[in-house]
């Protein structure tokens, strides 16, 4: 029996059946693979946090190398000893604080009655406590985010930056070693103990980054807006943690 494939009714039925079949195949696949995809995202976050603390596989290369995904979970649980959630003046421990979506928290906080939950991770390195803080902001084209590791006096121990879609070769360079390594040792507070952040500065006259207490690192040429975005997200997001660090002293 030959089907008249030109009939309108046939065309419509064919389209409906096709959409249903394809839709269910894809829905099944997506939900089947979701646990694996989620695990990958979690590992990536753990790798980034550990990277900011200086735990990485950078040895012998000039690229950014994370510790491998099969080891990251163990390394993360043994290195990050405590995770906190800061809500206003209340500080509580929460072993899943690193899963807090700071993008969602940021939009919820637009409502003035909402107390923003700030995640903070504490680890230990060379006998000193190190605190890792997630930050998020805007670059030229899309979101930029990162993690900053600081010690008790808010001196930066290491950073990690990433971006969703900055210009390759210019803004995208914020995730390169030569830019991120400059942040280590920089002071977030000025000599009087006032929060100043880090200015990604043009004309910094310090390309080798020898002055650690000037609250500035050298910008990437041609990446002004992305650099300003880094400055802004450090200023805005890290500042919220300053009251907590005052209590540590």
């Amino acid at each position: 029996m030959a089907i008249d494939t030109d009939k309108n009714s046939y065309t419509i039925i064919f389209a409906i059946v096709m959409v249903l079949v394809v839709g269910s195949i894809l829905a099944g696949l997506a939900s089947g693979l979701k646990p694996l995809v989620d695990a990958n995202k979690r590992f990536e976050k753990q790798q980034n946090i550990l990277y900011a603390m200086g735990i990485n596989a950078n040895e012998g290369t000039s690229d950014v190398e994370f510790i491998s995904t099969d080891k990251v979970e163990d390394e993360f649980t043994s290195t990050i000893t405590k995770q906190y959630v800061i809500e206003g003046t209340k500080v509580s421990e929460d072993s899943e604080a690193y899963l807090i979506d700071i993008k969602k928290e940021e939009s919820k906080a637009k409502d003035a009655s909402y107390t923003r939950r700030l995640p903070l991770f504490e680890g230990e390195k060379d006998g000193q406590p190190i605190y890792v803080i997630p930050i998020r902001g805007k670059g030229l084209w899309d979101a930029i985010w990162g993690f900053v590791a600081v010690d008790k006096s808010m001196t930066i121990q290491g950073v990690f930056f990433d971006h969703a879609g900055e210009t390759p070769g210019l803004g995208a360079e914020i995730k390169q070693r030569y830019f991120m390594d400059d942040f280590a040792g920089e002071h977030l507070l000025n000599d009087a103990g006032v929060y100043k952040g880090i200015n990604v500065a043009k004309g910094n006259a310090d390309p080798k980054n020898e002055r650690k207490s000037d609250n500035a690192v050298d910008a990437i040429a041609g990446a002004t807006i992305t650099g300003d975005g880094v400055t802004a997200m450090i200023m805005k997001d890290l500042k919220m943690y300053v009251p907590y660090f005052k209590t540590l002293k």
Binding site: D6, F14, M18, V19, L29, A30, N40, S62
Partner: protein, 214 residues
């Protein structure tokens, strides 16, 4: 008589050389420019296209008698899109870092003209087995050029292959760099891919005069 008849093996072998989708039909150039700065993404892209095109050709061929001709382009598009989403999801689950690197290009397979071209020109009119071979051959022909271009661009542009420093270290000045060799920064930019493709076409046509049009 082996596994493939003479006509069948022609379906696979033709697109590899004398009827190559990139160098002869000049299809799929866009992605050939975008992702060939390094060898690894070129290979992954080639494998993904082999999967999408050969499976897609079979699916279209199986449905060729029941697809309403009025909406056949949309049906083809849905088949490509479905397969591409499958590739994307599988990469996200099993090769996360790679999928981040390739991110947008996997999605762009949908717009790869070779795929729609083969669906429309071959799979709609041929049996599944022949369509499978045709898809395999064309995707392999595309992938072959991608890998050749990727090889030269990574080697000459960054002095590496698969990220390994095969020519020595350009910062430490070891290996070839010790005698004054410099990487050609142009090679990592997209226009150079076009020039490399052009060179391949030149070599191919000077070896086989039949390919030269009047």
């Amino acid at each position: 008589m082996g596994l493939l008849s003479k006509k069948d093996s022609k379906l696979i072998l033709d697109p590899l050389a004398d009827n190559n989708p990139i160098t002869i039909q000049v299809l799929g150039i866009c992605s050939a420019l975008a992702i060939t700065a390094q060898l690894k993404p070129s290979i992954v892209m080639a494998i993904s296209v082999v999967f999408v095109l050969s499976v897609g050709n079979v699916v279209i061929s199986l449905m060729r008698n029941i697809i309403p001709s009025k909406i056949r382009i949309i049906v083809q598009l849905i088949v490509v899109a479905t397969l591409v989403i499958i590739v994307d999801q599988v990469l996200k689950a099993f090769a996360y870092t790679l999928s981040k690197e390739l991110s947008v290009f996997i999605g762009l397979i949908i717009t790869n003209c070779i795929i729609m071209g083969r669906f429309e020109a071959f799979a709609l009119a041929n049996k599944p087995w022949q369509s499978f071979l045709d898809g395999l051959g064309n995707a392999a022909g595309y992938g072959l050029i991608l890998i050749i271009v990727g090889f030269f661009r990574e080697l000459l542009g960054s002095g590496t292959l698969f990220g390994f420093k095969v020519l020595g270290d350009s910062v430490e000045k070891t290996g070839l760099y010790a005698i004054g060799y410099e990487n050609n920064g142009f090679m990592v930019l997209p226009p150079m891919a076009l020039i490399v493709v052009g060179l391949i076409i030149w070599v191919q046509r000077s070896r086989n005069k039949e390919l030269i049009e009047d």
